[in-house]
Symmetry: C2
Subunit: 213 residues, 2 copies
């Protein structure tokens, strides 16, 4: 069993998902959604989910010192869904989402990808990266509760729901809410029954967007 | 910033925690608790938490294809707390907790560690590994809901609580309940206020053991 075999669950997956990683990323922001997607694939969803870096980088060191192996280098236009996790924003950490926004390379890449990507998802302060890339504007979105004011200052229409669905822009609150965001994307693409099954397998009680009810 | 600097948060941490990893381990079983411990350390808890392998192995490939870097090789007697995650038990996966139990090396090591370890914790089907190692016997414990019957068959007194505290044996249900187990250990060792702060930072609504109320 290799990472690649799991990343490419079927020869021609219907849905391709890239989860963006970078040094200082919050590990649960990454692993929560990715495990949801891979579990959905294991239960028959035709999807591929991969951890992608901006430049070739075999190993990424997260905000809490957990080293994770990357699957591929990000290519704008390759994935149907791009998930952007956060990490280290509120603390202005030397590595993390804040550092990435200041450096500017990820925002530029995400802008380049936006026109060819079906859906952008911001997890935790990954939403701030999307906002700084100019990809949220005045749309409805949320982020980690510590930086809601900062998100509002970018012009976004800020909601405090755990998951906010604004069509081709889906965002969520802090850290563990990324699990609910991913389950919601599974529900949108493959149905609520599959999403409920995945959640049950993870002993997770779901929170869906209020707009879904 | 290196993994080692985060694994050893203070020069002489009061509490040393090893999180056992092996190929086929469920990634959230690992990352959930570890991120809780590292966040607690970041908020002042004097603890060290490390990912440990049975033999030298720089990279571990989890059940869902996520590669994780190990911090150290397990040494019985080194840690005050040993956390055993699960993965792949119900599916009898070729790698994972079931494979480890059949192979027998981890059970033997955990038995060797038990007499010098202050607390054993089983996450998800990691509890089954502890049971097969003879470290649960008739004590109160829980595991992933898919294998509760199998746990009962080992002689354990099975509860269906999300987290079960039986003194120096603490266990929990499936996958995401490992976050609650880790928060409970933080509460036991460093107080409920810190555990609540960590949970809030992760946007996680806690479930404590019923015996704690």
């Amino acid at each position: 069993m290799t990472s690649a075999s799991l990343a490419d669950h079927s020869p021609t997956p219907r849905l391709s998902i890239d989860v963006v990683i970078y040094d200082g990323v919050d590990e649960l922001d990454v692993v929560g959604p990715l495990e949801v997607f891979r579990r959905a694939a294991g239960r028959g969803a035709s999807l591929r989910a991969a951890l992608v870096t901006r430049t070739p980088q075999p190993t990424v060191l997260g905000a809490h010192g957990i080293g994770m192996l990357a699957d591929a280098v990000f290519e704008p236009g390759r994935a149907d869904v791009v998930v952007v996790p956060g990490g280290g924003w509120a603390a202005r950490a030397a590595t993390g989402a804040w550092a990435q926004a200041r450096q500017g390379d990820w925002p530029a890449l995400l802008r380049a990808a936006a026109s060819t990507t079906g859906l952008l998802a911001g997890v935790c302060t990954g939403t701030m990266l999307l906002a700084r890339a100019g990809l949220i504007g005045t749309r409805r979105a949320t982020t980690h509760h510590a930086v809601l004011t900062e998100l509002a200052a970018t012009g976004a229409t800020v909601l405090t729901d755990r998951v906010v669905d604004d069509g081709d822009l889906v965002t969520c609150g802090g850290v563990t809410s990324g699990i609910d965001l991913a389950l919601w994307l599974v529900e949108r693409e493959f149905g609520g029954s599959l999403a409920d099954d995945v959640a049950a397998g993870m002993a997770h009680t779901r929170t869906r967007p209020t707009t879904a009810d």
